[in-house]
Symmetry: C2
Subunit: 166 residues, 2 copies
């Protein structure tokens, strides 16, 4: 008998309810990064991504994430964050800042907007000022910074670890 | 006073000792994926990646990960796994299989070789037969499978969460 056998393409884990989790992105330079975030978000059961700037999906990369995750594109992030806050979302930035919490130690509020910075500049100070919390992923070696899609994937994984059933 | 201020480019978290963690990759179709894994591995303090097939790094993507992580390229994965097992590594596959453990519930042995499958076929049955354990990342929605570099990043994050100081 085989110890481990492939079970690819099996049905996904069911969620008890829709995840009240939104990803809000600063203007990204790379639509490859945005599309990678889309694919991961789709797999994690996230229903909405709000992107800013010249956001366009690369379908080959986003895969069916582009169909199951709703994409809204806005000009600028601060008004988006203010609206999300009004709707009751905790605004949780993903960044290296003062007063940040290591990602693994942060108990995510269930209703969270994960706020992601751009590749080079990260989150603007105007956005940082609107946040309720900042989570930071420890770095132990070169090149000392995670790719934005990688960091976002880790944060989505951590949120889902805390809410495995939705 | 600003609540959150950038601390980018700060020194990395110190490790008490080198991480006894190795990543062993099946032949990947995409050197972009391999290079993305390199950048993440570098940030996580991983010192060695063993790749197979036509592995070549894209330096723009791997960044300085290419300098701090040692790359060994071999023809085929099974002999690599046998050697790692002889050296005392637990062989932990990242795959969707029978008898897998959800990633977040798996207590990683400190001395681990994370064994990664290729984009389309995943891990071969020959490789699966050599593994000590398989970890699986739950999927809650479309497109029902994580990109290989994304999945590897989540697994590296989880290992580091369990061993934050090395």
């Amino acid at each position: 008998m085989l110890k481990f056998e492939h079970t690819r393409h099996k049905p996904p884990t069911a969620l008890k309810e829709e995840r009240p989790l939104v990803v809000a992105c600063s203007p990204l330079r790379s639509n490859v990064n945005l599309s990678t975030i889309f694919r991961t978000a789709g797999c994690c059961g996230v229903r909405e991504i709000i992107a800013t700037g010249n956001a366009k999906l690369v379908n080959k990369i986003a895969r069916d994430g582009a169909e199951s995750v709703n994409l809204t594109v806005k000009n600028s992030l601060p008004p988006v964050l203010k609206k999300l806050k009004d709707e009751g979302y905790a605004l949780v930035g993903l960044e290296q800042t003062t007063h940040s919490t290591p990602l693994a130690e942060y108990p995510f509020p269930k209703k969270t907007a994960l706020v992601v910075g751009s590749e080079r500049e990260g989150l603007s100070q105007e956005c940082l000022n609107l946040l309720d919390a900042v989570v930071e992923i420890p770095v132990w070696g070169m090149p000392f910074s995670y790719n934005v899609a990688t960091a976002t994937s880790m944060a989505l994984y951590e949120y889902c670890r805390q809410y495995p059933a939705g």
